[in-house]
Amino acid sequence: MKADILVLCAAGMLVSAYLMVGQRALFTTIRLYGLQSLLLAVVAATIAISEARPELWVTAGVTVALKTILIPWFLMRVIDRIGIHREIEPFLSVPASLLVCVGLTVVGYRVSTGFPEGAGGVSHHLIGVALSLLLVGLFLMVTRKKAITQILALLTVENAVFLVAVGVTSGMPLIVELGISFDVILAVLILGILVRRIVDRFESMDVSRLSTLKG
């Protein structure tokens, strides 16, 4: 039962990343990120119950508060202010991107087979999903041009790292985790401010135009 929930949620996270790759409306992409974070919180909560680790409840709570509510709200506000709602044509078409992502998932699963078993026998799946999520996030980062999508790709990579932390080690020490969350939110804030300044200046948030500095 518990293992089913874990695998289901982790798989859901990967699916949401796939949907992000196939999506062009920025609002939907942000909502998908929120959903992905919610599933991460469910994973944390499930492990908190099954292994009686109360500190993981804090992780789950912080994840919901920051990553499913605060960060998506903030990013949507940024988009609203600047009035750009759609991703432009990515460097790679959607079907080709999805095909690449399938390949990346295979790679992620292949690497995960070498790991020792951790929490409750499902950690193999969790690592497989987490590494795939990491690779898909990186792929999203290099193929998209909009600044907001790049932030979301960065956050997806961050979620993948947290999935490893929660699923394999049953959570990092609490203070460290709080410090990390604080830093992530600060980084997103600064990135958001930068995006607005870039849009004000260049009247676009197409980061492929940021290419004056070379050599």
Binding site: L138, E158, V164, V176, I180, D183, L194, I198, L210
Partner: protein, 495 residues
């Protein structure tokens, strides 16, 4: 009160006061005074370590061993130097009415905050705290990159932050994987992430997980150090950030990131032997030195030129450690020390030239600066000689130590490539700096003449820093040498 906590609190308080309002004179006094006190406290902490103590706080989450003490002292030193030069730098811009209220607040707030984050990196014994501290350095410095608010600064800041955050996500994954490799043997709570705990249980760590963790952590912290191929943010950030902040990046951040790399390297060495991470460091180091070669030769901007020099030097240090010989490690740490003395001089004199010419682009500075601005030009030549490792200056000896370690060990090919790259880099630097300083003087009818040189506060700091760099080349004080040896013992021996 715990000495270590006080040492960290000093720059933080300075940042808090500097970030608030207040008359300019007051802020300047607070910044220089606060950073001087910080440096004094760093020396006191290192002194206590040399006296046989192990300063620690928060249940060993912060702990000073030989390596920490060396990096701490160097960071405190460059913090004071940058703060002092920064005051002169800002004054010069104030006179030309280039400084807004926002700039003043950011400058006096963020420079001490950056110093705080670097000091926190250098004393972290806990891998989690270490990560948080490195992220803090990134966040503190990004607003310094956008300081001048040009189109290009936004571009540089975006690349800096996105690449830096991505690198740090990798470093975090590396940390998590190393923690996972412990499979519960590291224990519970905060102390489970302590580096000392890792070293105790290192032989029992799960080998494959360690390998993967080390790769991710080295790539992640290597991004912050600017090792190739993760170096691309460096030239942009160096060009855009004001010179005092660049000195903090080029010395403080570089040393701090190298500190992280060494800690990870040591865990890897204790768990799965020295070849794995040593080989990685050697490869990344060689790549960094080689990458710098073409870009130095074709460079169009003075501060970007120094960024590639900084990529070269972090490469040299990585090679020294990666060679896997005690002499190499000693050479690398000695190189780090000399670099910390010399690099600020190069950046400050380049910054002074850039201020006088209103740009650091070589096209704007043009040739023949020696006739117009002789002091800044002479200092640039001197610092260029030092940082390219010309005899009789210190970096020549540290580079020789590393080369000898490479030749005695079984790394003849790598050492040969390294030596060849060093020679070309030397020629490239002499060519570029010679072109700027000595070339035919600028046409007197040119409207864009530089401002006249004056002996103000900033210039005084550069001259003082240059004197220190020259003196340190010939004479390192006994306690500093003892720190370098203690740091070598940490990295080489099984402490």
């Amino acid at each position: 009160m715990n000495l270590l906590v006080v040492t960290l609190a000093a720059p933080l308080i300075t940042a808090a006061i500097g970030g608030l309002g207040g008359p300019r004179q007051f802020k300047e006094t607070v910044m220089i005074g606060g950073l001087a006190i910080t440096f004094g406290l760093c020396l006191a902490t290192a002194g206590r370590f040399l006296g046989g103590g192990v300063p620690a706080a928060f249940g060993d989450a912060l702990r000073v061993d030989g390596l920490s003490a060396l990096v701490l002292v160097l960071c405190g030193f460059v913090g004071l130097l940058s703060g002092t030069y920064g005051v002169g730098y800002l004054r010069r811009n104030e006179e030309r009415r280039l400084v807004t209220k926002r700039m003043r607040r950011e400058f006096f707030g963020l420079i001490p905050a950056y110093v705080f984050a670097m000091l926190l990196v250098s004393v972290s014994n806990n891998l989690g705290i270490l990560w948080v501290a490195v992220e803090l350095t990134t966040l503190a410095s990004v607003s310094l990159v956008t300081f001048h608010d040009r189109d290009t600064s936004l571009e540089a800041a975006w690349k800096f932050l996105v690449l830096g955050s991505l690198g740090l996500a990798f470093a975090l994954l590396g940390t998590v994987l190393l923690f996972a490799a412990g499979q519960g043997r590291l224990g519970e709570g905060m102390a489970a992430l302590n580096w000392t705990r890792f070293m105790q249980v290192a032989p029992q760590l799960h080998p494959l997980t360690v390998r993967l963790g080390v790769v991710f952590a080295l790539i992640g912290y290597g991004t912050k150090a600017g090792l190739a191929p993760m170096h691309t943010w460096k030239p942009d950030a160096y060009r855009e950030a004001p010179s005092p902040a660049v000195a903090l990046m080029a010395v403080g951040m570089l040393n701090g990131a190298l500190y992280c790399i060494l800690r990870i390297h040591l865990i890897s060495k204790a768990a799965i032997g020295p070849e794995f991470s040593g080989g990685l460091l050697l490869t990344l180091g060689l790549l960094s030195v080689l990458v710098a070669v073409p870009f130095v030769l074709i460079q169009w901007n003075l501060k970007r030129l120094l960024a590639y020099s900084s990529i070269e030097h972090v490469g040299i240090m990585a090679i020294g450690v990666g060679l896997g010989a005690e002499a190499g490690v000693f050479g690398a740490l000695l190189h780090m020390t000399y670099h910390s003395f010399a690099k600020p001089v190069a950046l400050f004199s380049a910054g002074t030239l850039a201020q006088l010419h209103s740009s650091s682009d070589l096209g704007r500075i043009q040739n023949g600066t020696f006739t117009r601005t002789p002091v800044a030009s002479a200092l640039l030549v001197l610092s260029a000689l030092i940082i390219t490792g010309s005899p009789p200056f210190g970096m020549f000896f540290s580079e020789m130590t590393i080369l000898r370690a490479g030749l005695i060990g079984s790394h003849a090919t790598a050492t040969g490539v390294f030596l060849a790259a060093l020679s070309v880099l030397f020629c490239g630097f002499v060519f570029q700096v010679g072109r700027i300083v000595l070339g035919p003087p600028r046409d007197p009818s040119d409207r864009r003449q530089p401002l006249p040189e004056r002996f103000d506060f900033g210039m005084g700091t550069v001259i003082a820093a240059a004197l220190l760099a020259v003196v340190s080349s010939f004479y390192l004080p006994g306690p500093l040498m003892a720190l370098i040896r203690a740091a070598t013992a940490v990295v080489w021996g099984d402490v």
